[in-house]
């Protein structure tokens, strides 16, 4: 049996925090602002979309201490065991000099009303620690999850470019103290399961995936929480209770990214950010797409496992993963089974998952010889927006004809869904405009999209059809796509 610790422990700026009970729903932002009266981090939306609450969370991951930006408003305190939480208050003392990031923002007039500013400072800080000489594109990516309603961003981007003129990363306190913080976190990470509270305020942090299997089988009504970028909103927007909350985001053996029989196997707790290099090196077609999932803070927390497990019809990873032939490993207790991803989604809100069963890993095969693949995300706003339509396409053309084809869409039906009628209309035919045009009418067999606040049914249908046209153009060398060109 795994040993149990009845305390949650982490470092907040330069102080140790030890908690022996807390509401399972307590968010880091409320903890900071209400419990600690640290009001530097702001609440602009309480749903992970504005970034005013951005803080850094330092975690030990695969032996490294990694600091990443996180939305404190949808981050549960229960997920912070053995972490170093860094807030804007940590950057400069009340009467001391400003931190280079802060001074750059001041000198470039990067704040007007100032409400978004602490969050922007933290996002820039997180970026700068990893990249002291960022391009405009790097800055835009770092700020995908930060809204500013006043400045129009131009001065903030200039500030972001000039941070290193105000100080060096090597002299930064978090870098200087890295080893000692790392040692302290290693000491906090004692291999024990953390368990606090009762009933709806029960928080469990399993120590390993085996421990999780045991805990979840014993508490099948508990809420699994990985990055909390969905569950956070159940709490902040719908005020749902989530206890017992079972936090799986820090389980080391769910963090695996590796190759099994040529396929990419990704642990359920791997975040978008952590998976990015492995995904985009194997599937370069997903590079732009990947950086358009959520914003940086969401990618730092959100996991692929949960994006699948939540069964959303508008989740971004299922369409490409279905088209790539991915499968998932489901585990309950010691029993494991493999399910083809496309079979996992049964109906709206219904997946092939039993009580007490969890997603352990996702396995994605490589593209076969001669296979062409693309994935497109259509949104109102380019970044940090939920897809109106997300389409993924894979085709193999032999002797000018379609030898194999797979198409899947999100946003077009109640689940992520394959376009089987369209595929049938293409299969065996010459891979030409005439074939594609003839196949378009088959869309109506596969999909009856809805009208909602993101898009009308008509737009969804027309743009989804046009994506097939685009895929043809791109695979036949005539592709033109919007490319944002910045310095």
């Amino acid at each position: 049996m795994t040993e149990v610790r009845g305390q949650l422990r982490f470092i907040l700026n330069d102080r140790d925090v030890v908690l022996d009970n807390l509401p399972a729903t307590r968010t880091l932002l409320d903890f900071l602002r209400l419990d600690r009266r640290m009001t530097g981090s702001k609440e602009g939306c309480a749903e992970g979309d504005c970034g005013a609450c951005t803080v850094l969370v330092g975690r030990l991951k695969r032996g490294q201490l990694v600091y990443e930006t996180v939305n404190a408003c949808i981050c549960f305190v229960g997920s912070l065991d053995a972490t170093h939480v860094v807030t804007v208050e940590h950057l400069s003392a009340a009467n001391g000099p400003l931190h280079p990031v802060q001074q750059a923002m001041v000198d470039h007039h990067g704040s007007q009303c100032g409400f978004c500013t602490p969050g922007i400072v933290m996002s820039l800080y997180g970026m700068w620690m990893q990249n002291a000489d960022p391009s405009v594109n790097d800055i835009e990516v770092a700020l995908q999850g930060n809204l500013c309603r006043c400045t129009g961003y131009a001065p903030i981007i200039k500030a972001g470019k000039s941070i290193s003129a105000y100080g060096t990363v090597v002299a930064d306190p978090l870098i200087v103290e890295r080893q000692s913080i790392k040692a302290r976190l290693q000491a906090l990470k004692d291999g024990k399961r953390v368990e606090l509270g009762e009933d709806k305020d029960r928080v469990i942090v399993p120590a390993s995936s085996d421990d999780l299997a045991e805990v979840y089988a014993a508490n099948p009504t508990g809420t699994l929480v990985a990055g909390a970028t969905d569950v956070g909103l159940w709490v902040t927007k719908f005020m749902r209770d989530i206890g017992p909350m079972i936090f799986i985001g820090d389980i080391a053996d769910l963090h695996g990214i590796g190759e099994v029989d040529g396929a990419l196997r990704i642990g359920a707790a791997v975040t978008y950010s952590d998976a990015e290099a492995a995904i985009t090196s194997r599937y370069p077609q997903l590079a732009t797409f990947w950086s358009r999932i959520g914003g940086q803070q969401v990618r730092n927390a959100g996991t692929i496992g949960a994006n699948i497990a939540n069964g959303s019809p508008i989740g971004d990873t299922p369409p490409p993963l279905i088209v790539l032939g991915a499968s998932i490993t489901l585990r309950k207790g010691d029993v494991r089974r493999e399910v083809k991803l496309e079979d996992f989604f049964i109906a709206y809100g219904k997946q092939d998952r039993q009580p007490g069963e969890f997603v352990e890993a996702v396995t994605i095969p490589p593209l076969g010889e001669g296979e062409q693949f693309a994935c497109y995300k259509i949104t109102k706003r380019r970044d940090e927006d939920i897809s109106s339509v997300c389409g993924a396409f894979r085709v193999k053309v032999e002797a000018g004809a379609v030898a194999d084809v797979c198409i899947a869409f999100g946003g077009m039906a109640a689940t992520p869904k394959r376009a089987k009628t369209v595929e049938a209309a293409l299969l065996g035919k010459p891979w030409t405009a005439a074939t594609v045009e003839a196949a378009l009418s088959a869309y109506a067999e596969d999909y009856q999209p809805i009208t909602d606040m993101r898009a009308s049914a008509e737009y969804r249908m027309v743009s989804a059809q046009n994506l097939l046209r685009r895929f043809l153009l791109e695979t036949t060398g005539e592709g033109e796509r919007l490319v944002r060109e910045v310095a």
Binding site: D49, A94, F115, K380, E458, R470, L482
Partner: protein
């Protein structure tokens, strides 16, 4: 504007100084209402909201609410000692709490007070309410079809003989356009903290652009006189018009609960509830008919601007008025008739938003300019230029004011050259000839915006300046700081008057206790009004100091001058602090209340005539875009702006206003879409569904220049011009550029007539229309 002059001229007027709170912003130490240390025993209120768009309230059972954990009390309309009304235009059409019927989804019903905000929020959802549904109309078309009433008296502007002008015009066209609304999305949501005092007293800390209005409303609802109510605001986390009247509700409810329970009360809605409850920029349907000649010169315009006003009047009257005031943008109409129709709808009550109807007026106007251009097969810019107001002739507006400060020709000419418009337009057309999927568009549009409140009495301001005996200066005025840099600009004015370093001037929170009867910080007028009032106060004190110095140093008053570093008194040079210390001992009053009212302006609404504006601010922008004709997605590739702020008081702050205003306007016209479902609920009620621009939406090339040669003809403070609102309308060039890209699909033969916001969906649907038109 080099560093040198900053050292030699500590007066610092016209210098690009950083925002006074910048260091506090970046360190998280700037205090917003929710950051203030709560008085002990503070309770939290939360509003329960209607879940019907239009219905009678059959019954309301609050038992479960009262019984919920942590709940202390429930506050309903029955608890209101004064009047259950917060109508800002005093039409008595805006109850604090609904009693017998609800008129929109999100309307407040009652407030729960609990030990924590979370407890209050949870309990607020537990009421059992039975509704009897009534038919609802959420948009202008439905309201018009249903014959809904207008929430307030409409306006008509008329000049010349429109019927004759249309009849004899060589050409005529008609059209109709939908212009979407806009949520303010101030990053800091609505919030108030009310602290009860003795007798009738209550102090309210509110995130508001209009403390005096809150003071009035709280008094009105509590049934006490205004002197019992003090309203304070140090800064807002953004306002944009959304905190001109929309904060009243939260302040009033907090104050009501505070007086009922004798406890401090904080009220802060969740972002979704803020979206649902508070008003937004008005959506419009504009129907127009225009007569013009073969050269594109307009002969007559007949336009109706119908607006979604929402369930109450709020500011819909003045907003729709201002739309009409800008139906001309920068163009002269030989004959014109423009009418407003502010329709009652079952939606939140639309309100002030940066530009205050002016932007919608201009968007409509630019639509018919564009229609004319496509009808004639000409570059829209040529049509624009052909219709610009003249400088000596052709310079009378639809409201009969003569434009005497027209600089639009120069602004547009300079921008056309600096943006290399003609060559780039050629290149765009060439690109479109060969590119199959991607198409480009470019457009250059002007802005002329009238400055002053059209409610003439709002054009007044007060300030209070104290000079303490150590020479430090305390500054208060009626304006509020929402990020626009008003506080620093007024402080610059004061430092300049006394020729002291800026650090000597302490900027204080705005409070009704120091400066009474203030106007909203709105209509871009904050600096013009409050800067002048502060200067007036300084001059009064200076006059006394001069008299004192003349006496003490035995020189003539003319020999006493305020200079950098001190005061020259004939041969003698004393520091400001020395003179002040001596004046104190000499029993000189070192405090003054300043006052300012804008000269000359007047407006007769019934007649539709007058000089409502003190002056105009001008600008122009040129945008280039690329669209994807397969999905309708697009990007804005380059924007060049030349904007007129007169002689800038602070070029850094002003440039920030121009950049920020442009991006905000771009959001309004592109990705920010408000969408109500069939039941009348706003479904884009959070940043997850309502998309304001991000850093990656900023044009990769974004050249923003202030017209350095411009000097306000009028004697405004430092000869500057207002800058808050006008730049928002520079974003119209993005719409026009998108339009051109869409039009390219049918070889520019058909006017694309895109409604706004021009979402990717609207672009794609426009492309589809063009494809059909092309055949």
């Amino acid at each position: 504007m080099n560093k040198q002059s900053a050292i030699t001229a500590p007066g610092v007027l016209h210098e690009p100084l950083v925002h006074d709170s910048a260091a506090k912003h970046v360190s998280g130490r700037a205090e917003y209402i929710d950051d203030i240390d709560e008085p002990s025993g503070t309770l939290h209120a939360y509003l329960a909201l209607s879940e019907r768009a239009h219905a009678e309230i059959a019954s309301m059972d609050l038992t479960a609410v009262r019984a919920a954990p942590g709940v202390v009390d429930v506050v309903t309309a029955d608890d209101i000692p004064g009047e259950n009304d917060i109508s800002s235009t005093h039409l008595h059409d805006e109850p604090v709490f609904a009693t017998t019927k609800v008129e929109y989804w999100g309307q407040p019903l009652f407030a729960v007070v609990a030990e924590t905000r979370e407890a209050a929020r949870r309990a607020s959802r537990l009421a059992r309410i039975e509704y009897r549904d009534l038919p609802h109309q959420t948009d202008v078309d439905a309201a018009r079809a249903n014959g809904n009433r207008l929430v307030t008296a409409p306006l008509k502007l008329e000049r010349g003989d429109v019927a004759a002008g249309l009849a004899k015009a060589q050409r005529r066209l008609k059209g109709s356009m939908l212009i979407g609304g806009q949520e303010h999305f101030y990053l800091e949501g609505q919030i108030s903290l009310a602290v009860p005092g003795e007798d009738d007293d209550v102090t309210v800390y509110a995130s508001t652009q209009h403390p005096s209005e809150i003071q009035l409303m709280v008094g009105h609802v509590l049934g006490v006189e205004m002197h019992a109510v003090t309203v304070n605001v140090r800064r807002m986390g953004g306002g944009f018009g959304g905190k001109e009247t929309q904060g009243n509700l939260y302040a009033v409810v907090a104050a009501l609960a505070a007086k009922k329970l004798h406890r401090a009360i904080k009220l802060r809605p969740d972002r979704d509830d803020d979206f649902q409850t508070t008003g937004k920029r008005h959506d419009f349907r504009v129907d127009y008919e225009v007569g013009y000649d073969d050269d594109g010169r307009i002969q007559a315009v007949d336009a109706v601007y119908a607006a979604r006003a929402g369930w109450s009047a709020d500011l819909s009257g003045p907003v729709t008025d201002r739309a009409l005031f800008h139906c001309d943008n920068a163009y002269w109409y030989p004959a014109v008739r423009a009418r407003s129709e502010p329709f009652y709808t079952n939606t939140c009550s639309n309100t002030a938003f940066r530009g205050f109807g002016g932007p919608q007026g201009m968007v409509g106007c630019e639509r018919w300019i564009e229609d004319i251009a496509y009808a004639l097969g000409r570059d829209p810019l040529e049509i624009r230029k052909a219709n610009f107001y003249g400088t000596d002739t052709n310079n009378i507006t639809p409201y009969h004011q003569t434009v005497t400060d027209n600089v639009i020709h120069r602004v547009v000419e300079e921008l056309e050259a600096s943006a290399d418009y003609q060559a780039r337009r050629e290149a765009v057309i060439a690109f479109n000839r060969t590119s199959k999927v991607l198409k480009k568009g470019i457009a250059l549009t002007p802005v002329k915006f009238g400055i002053s409140f059209t409610a003439t009495w709002y054009n007044q301001a007060g300030a209070l300046v104290h000079v303490y005996r150590d020479g430090s200066i305390h500054l208060s005025h009626g304006g509020t700081e929402m990020g626009q840099g008003l506080y620093i600009k007024v402080a610059q004015v004061v430092a300049d008057e006394f020729q002291v370093p800026l650090a000597s001037v302490k900027i204080n929170a705005t409070t009704t206790g120091k400066v009474p009867n203030t106007s909203a910080t709105a209509a871009s007028s904050g600096t013009d009004l409050n800067g002048a009032a502060a200067a007036d106060a300084c001059r009064q004190i200076k006059a006394r100091l001069v008299a004192h110095a003349a006496r003490v140093y035995e020189v003539s008053e003319a020999e006493v001058t305020f200079e950098p570093g001190g005061v020259r008194c004939g041969q003698k040079f004393v520091t400001f602090a020395e003179l002040v210390a001596s004046a104190y001992v000499g029993r000189v009053q070192l405090s003054a209340a300043g006052f300012y009212k804008t000269p000359r302006i007047h407006w007769d609404r019934a007649a539709g005539r007058g000089d409502p504006f003190y002056y105009f601010a001008y600008g122009a922008s040129c945008s280039e875009v690329t669209i994807d004709t397969l999905t309708g997605e697009y990007q804005v590739d380059r924007v060049d702006i030349l904007h007129d702020v007169g002689k800038s008081l602070n070029p850094a702050i002003d440039k920030g206003q121009v950049e920020g205003g442009f991006i905000q306007g771009m959001g309004w016209l592109t990705t920010e879409e408000l969408w109500w479902d069939g039941k009348g609920q706003l479904r884009t009620h959070a940043p997850s569904t309502y998309k304001i621009p991000l850093a990656s939406d900023v044009p990769p090339i974004f050249n923003v220049t202030l017209a350095e040669w411009s000097v306000n003809k009028e004697a405004t403070i430092g000869r500057s011009k207002a800058v808050g609102e006008p730049p928002l309308m520079l974003a119209i060039s993005v719409v026009e550029a998108l339009s051109m890209a869409v039009a390219s699909v049918a070889e520019y033969r058909v006017a694309p007539q895109l409604d706004t916001p021009v979402t990717p969906e609207r672009v794609l649907m426009g492309v589809e229309r063009m494809r059909k038109a092309r055949g």
